[in-house]
Symmetry: D2
Subunit: 286 residues, 4 copies
């Protein structure tokens, strides 16, 4: 990883010959030295994907001039594209409920500089984790949620988010289902951790389901949240062995380790602009 400033371009568009040549020509024309280039073609759906990162040190275009200069090429190929800089500092809002393991894992990575991100706000439906937020000097707002007040609660949450202006929202064991309305305010920006190896054990109490079924492996899944619950694009999955010796309680304990690891991996990849989501799947360039 370069310590100097670099730019990252994420692209997807209909596949056709010459796209890599044209994009890399564009960079070469301004003396851009490519640090990483990944591409992928979904041959079934004929979609081209690309992530290219280049050094800005000797790049002869000013940062402000890159987008206008690249736009004509993007238009020709009907690209969906986004330009990022490795020096961008994103804003991440975290939703939590009562469990602390995922939150501590995120905040300790933030504290050590592994997650180079600002955290303007932590939102919870309970007071329980306020002391953890205070440990790290972070704002903590409680918006209580009940079945009857969900709409009202989401209005409050959306108002808080409007001020916080998040680039990414992380549901760190938030345990509440968001409405389509809420999700549609932040498409492709909400990351959730599901405490099972999706699509097995969708829904509530997956560890109890896993115990009853007698599986020998349990897993966890991080995914982008879409209107269709538990069915958004999967980012990272991981698993661990279990046996007849593991009670439901043991599975929950082992599962917590998976949950925090899998969620933090997804956050890391998102912050590094390594994920392209489309058609309910992800391309993860890692």
């Amino acid at each position: 990883m370069s310590s100097t400033e670099s730019a990252i371009l994420l692209i997807y568009c209909p596949d056709s010959p010459g796209i890599v040549a044209k994009v890399t020509d564009f960079l070469y024309q301004y003396q851009g030295n490519i640090l990483h280039l990944d591409q992928h073609v979904d041959t079934q759906k004929n979609v081209f994907f690309m992530r290219v990162e280049w050094d800005l040190e000797h790049f002869t275009l000013e940062k402000d001039a890159i987008e206008p200069a690249f736009s004509p090429l993007a238009d020709v190929h009907q690209m969906t594209w986004k330009l990022h800089y490795n020096t961008d500092r994103l804003r991440m809002v975290i939703f939590v409920s009562k469990q602390s393991h995922a939150l501590y894992d995120i905040l300790s990575r933030w504290h050590s500089g592994e997650f180079k991100v600002d955290i303007p706000l932590i939102i919870s439906n309970h007071e329980t984790l306020r002391p953890v937020a205070e440990q790290f000097g972070l704002p903590f707002e409680v918006v209580s949620v009940t079945k009857d007040t969900k709409a009202e609660s989401e209005t409050k949450q959306l108002a808080l988010l409007e001020e916080a202006i998040p680039d990414v929202i992380v549901l760190a064991k938030y345990m509440q289902i968001l409405t389509d309305n809420f999700v549609n305010h932040y498409p492709g920006k909400i990351i959730n951790i599901h405490h099972s190896f999706l699509p097995a054990f969708i829904g509530a109490k997956p560890y109890h389901q896993a115990f009853e079924r007698g599986v020998k492996i349990i897993g966890a899944t991080s995914h982008y949240v879409t209107a269709d619950l538990d069915a958004g694009p999967i980012i990272v999955q991981n698993v661990t062995d279990v046996s007849h010796k593991d009670s439901v309680k043991d599975m929950i304990r082992k599962g917590k380790d998976l949950e925090k690891t899998v969620l933090s991996s997804a956050i890391y990849l998102h912050l590094q602009h390594r994920i392209l989501a489309y058609h309910n799947k992800t391309v993860v360039f890692n």
Copy 2:
């Protein structure tokens, strides 16, 4: 592992204090030296499980006398129990269809002595793998199966099995659903490999389902066959990573590696008398 002869006792029964003491007292009374002892209590269902293996070298009971001597204790505790010897040579019948990977893996382990078992018969619904059976000098019978002739075909298969007298039947990618009638002839003796990480992607074309869903891990599951398809007691599961780069064809290739490994592991455990199945789950003492 001892190279001398040993006996293996598998037990399950309602839990109560003193069972381990009584069983190990029984062995000690005849100078039995315990090589391995595993026990487990399902505290939810109050069931006790035990596997104990002891050296027969200085054991003062003759082999024929062990069962009668142990029976009274077993009766007191309403034990379901079975006595095996490490020198027993089990009989294993293999069902295959057209794919060779699992069969080759099994036969190469048999050839090298890892599976100390007799294989009186390989049954298939196609001629395809006859040359593989012939390579290893093993009998191969084809019983063709169509939707309309399933009952008739199973009658033929059951007749062949009656002669082969299998201790265990392995479905090595047999790809046909067995009727309840067939399954009930060999309860707890039929091992299947399912080409997915059960309970995800139950049913047909699991790799296509996995590809469509965009999962990041695929798996395979070996299980005992029961009347309820894909829902029998799970023995072994394993997984491997996949990514957007993997086509369905790649997943099938990776899946084959999982399938053969997971199936062979289940066979190994079964041959070593390490599995106790109950209530649609397994206790695997490994």
Copy 3:
């Protein structure tokens, strides 16, 4: 896992027939209901190992009377043995240096109740992590260490430990080599995390060594500290994939995840009295 009080007996001794029978008879005699029993025989060295946990609810011996009652049997078999209770609250002292990832992982598990342990003291050779200790309201003492003052520093540390009376000492990336004298004060009680897959890359800068060698997997190892550096009994190891894409910095980042997980697993097993160390190896009953 029972929510009632249970006793845990850890034993090792020369192997001979009847040990399991005699120990379980002892428990049965006082109505002890066995919750878990694990045993192992090292047939090469003829050593017998056992861990047995039983419910104290209906046990007819008072806790104070168990040790005297068991001693005669232990003596007959020359047992090395130890009796624990699941309600014991151990005292754990943590040594750290500048890196926070392992410490945060430990303290968040302590905070959530996964580690049921008292932490009377955190010792460091630097001020860096004092704020983390303060976040959790834990005492933090700095004892600076230089090559020339190592003996003096250890004297101070030993004095602090004498007051803290630790049952277990965890080196959470302490990065200093302890003298034999120090180690001998707490035999079998010091757990270290080594940032490599021992015995590969023993010594300093293992991630740089791994990068240079071009390995495809890196690992971490937790072990008890003995006088022979990096050669104490291994408790837990784990690994993760790396590739040519991973710089040394990436390996260090991935390695930190391994380190904290592997260290916390070892602590968990130690606190549950699941580890027997002998002859530079461990028997881990998990």
Copy 4:
């Protein structure tokens, strides 16, 4: 994977801006549609690596004309490069000794079409596996090897290889050390499987070493053979858990599974032209 014919270009050279642009321009100029492109920069050593695969269906250069057309560009950038076609059928010679597990795994993959390769010869220092070769209808030559006759034996082997004209030589548990002279005849073309997680347990009897050390994970390593024994570029590694319950014999059994899997993975990658070896490391584009 395309079912039509494709070309694969493997390149490494000193890094400089514009290489990707120039190579992809070259392909685009002749209407080449890129199927896969992977690149990597070793920023420490300033080396650029690339693998690009493109569809030949609409490519306007004849196959014979590709190399001459590309050469000038390659010369400018001092490229080490090689052009392959997915329809090339490589020739693979296998060396074995007495153990059959790796050989069976390779031959069953060859039989099922997973390895699209010709096998003109299997060479062994023992008669043991001749029946396996005969099962698959493959030529089998025995060249006995003793300490005193190693030079003479290698002369015979080299003569056999001169006729077999192998593109790749696989040591499938051959268990003999090759001389530098032999290795230098086939640089970068000899793949070995080492029965340990290199660089741990280099040398003989690694499973015995692993048992003695009490490790909790064992591994296997496939690598290209170079003059420096056990130190050639690593291609694939994998690991499996072990515990105190595993005897040396169990570790050998588990190790065999690793060995065959890891060796076959390396062969697959080599046959797909996915490996670039340099400076005793590999870049594996998978």
